[in-house]
Amino acid sequence: MAKSAMLRAFGRVWLKPLTFWALATPALWLGWQWSALLMGGVHALGFNPIETTHRFLGDTALRILLISLAITPFRDLTRWLPIMKIRRRVGLAAFWYAVLHLAAYLGLDLYLAANMSIAGMFAGLWNDVVERIYITLGMIGFLIFIPLSVTSFNSMVRRLGAKVWQRLHYSVYPLGVIAVFHYGFMVKGNQLGPWIHGGVLLALLAWRGWSICKSSPRPAASMQSGS
């Protein structure tokens, strides 16, 4: 009894702030490493800090996206409903890491490669989107992500209505698939990383498919997070 009371208190008081700080930690760490690097101190960014930054932000965005997709299965398995209060927050964090990922690629690569010309930077972006399949996929994924992030606020959920909102947010599944392929086409050779992330995504999608087939839809439960 005391245990479940504590769990309830945790869900009510601590869950959201802790989630926020957990999600912010990778960005804070990266910022700390970059300030150490620029001030000539000891840092963990290696000999190619720009490449490390791209990899780190991309990995983090994809992993947080996978975590956001794991929240509903987690609820179904544990029947701990308060977890739903952080689902949108986690998804939104994935979007912010994708924004940083794109910004780093624009600023640390294309802008410098174009000798610091903004027009050249966007010309480089278009060139990459047209020529490089992994960047084409990355940009498509990012465009899909934008409507999801701007509708993640309570006011937007209310304005759209639960049904329309839910339907719009189903595009998180193709987004996940695109993100994994973006990763897979980026690496050289047949590497393990994309297969592992793809495997996790596949398991999460299979869970959804199986839940739908069982046909016990709980539209109310999925939307009751009145944060």
Binding site: L37, L38, G46, F47, N48, P49, I50, E51, L108, L112, A113, G124, N127, D128, E131, R132, I133, Y134, M186, V187, K188, G189, N190, Q191, L192
Partner: protein, 323 residues
């Protein structure tokens, strides 16, 4: 050997051989003399004498400075030995430095096969003339659009290949890298079709720039850089420079090369550094300079800046088609 520097008698400090090392070197040379200087003379097909299997220490050898150098500063040693693509030890850039120590390089044998008069299995010290080492400071351009400048120590590839007396049918030469899952953890996953294979057209292999390195920064080649012997082909993308070579094959047809086999649309046989051919993954127009400051970039040169020495080999060839 180190005194053969007619116009510059002042040796840099690193070229002055410590006395104990020098004495050690004389012993090795004496042993070499007893067996015929290169150990190859009269060998024919067969195995070379076991006396030469001990791996020479490059730091104890003198080496000649040559005019093959570049204006830009050399990449710091920590970066050269800490940031490597050597997928046999893992796909992360820091994996080779972390795991390559597990590879045993002593003794080291190289099998020579195919269209040549002298074939067989040779100990490294029988194949490389350690009394003729020279230092060459070359640019290294990775296909991933980053670059380094590295002072290698070694011998021209042509000098080594000529010893085997390749026949007219030897139109290409293939290099096969070590692949031992017990010591090279990356080989346990099929990132590529192991062992790693590379190749050159015969005229490319005999070009003055093609080099076999046994050391860098005046020391024996560290494992993560392809010990004990690796190719250095500075006008081509880094992956052409096969590491830890265990087999050399003289062949008449274009040999299989690992990256082309893995993704033919992306990696061709020639793989000459070419800023005009945009790779499906990376623009090749410019490159990040490793160790040159966080934001350091430079424009990529055709043939990585070695047009003068190599461009003639590709006269009349479409280098976009034959990428």
């Amino acid at each position: 050997m180190i005194t053969r520097k007619p116009f510059n008698w002042q040796l840099p400090d690193r070229e002055i051989t410590p006395k104990n090392r020098f004495m050690n070197r004389r012993e090795i040379m004496r042993a070499g003399g007893a067996l015929g200087v290169l150990g190859l003379a009269g060998c024919g097909v067969g195995e070379s004498a076991a006396a030469h299997t001990e791996l020479p220490d490059v730091a104890g050898m003198g080496y000649r400075e040559t005019s093959y150098t570049v204006d830009d500063p050399s990449t710091p040693l920590e970066a050269v030995t800490g940031y490597n693509n050597f997928y046999e030890f893992g796909t992360s850039k820091s994996d080779p430095a972390r795991y390559a120590h597990a590879m045993s390089t002593d003794p080291w044998f190289i099998e020579v096969e195919g269209h040549a008069a002298q074939t067989g299995r040779y100990a490294l010290a029988d194949m490389i003339d350690y009394s003729a080492l020279e230092e060459r400071v070359y640019r290294l351009r990775c296909v991933e659009a980053w670059s380094m400048v590295i002072p290698w120590v070694g011998v021209p590839l042509a000098d080594v290949l000529r010893q085997f007396e390749p026949t007219e049918d030897a139109r290409y030469v293939q290099f096969i890298s070590n692949s031992n899952p017990a010591e090279m953890r990356g080989v346990r996953s099929r990132v590529l079709d192991w062992p790693y294979k590379e190749g050159l057209r015969m005229d490319e292999a005999m070009n003055e720039l093609a080099f076999l390195a046994v050391g860098l920064y005046g020391e024996t080649l560290p494992n993560q850089n392809g010990a004990p012997i690796r190719l250095v082909v500075p006008w081509k993308y880094g992956y052409k420079s096969a590491k830890s070579i265990v087999k050399i094959k003289f062949v008449s047809e274009e040999p299989v090369t690992s990256w082309k086999q893995s993704a033919p649309r992306e990696y061709g046989f020639y793989s000459n550094v070419n800023p005009n051919r945009s790779h499906p993954r990376w623009s090749q127009a410019s490159e990040r300079v490793i160790g040159g400051g966080v934001f350091a970039r430079r424009e990529t040169d055709m043939f990585n800046g070695y047009s003068e020495q190599v461009a003639h080999m590709y006269d009349g060839m479409d280098l976009i088609e034959n990428h």
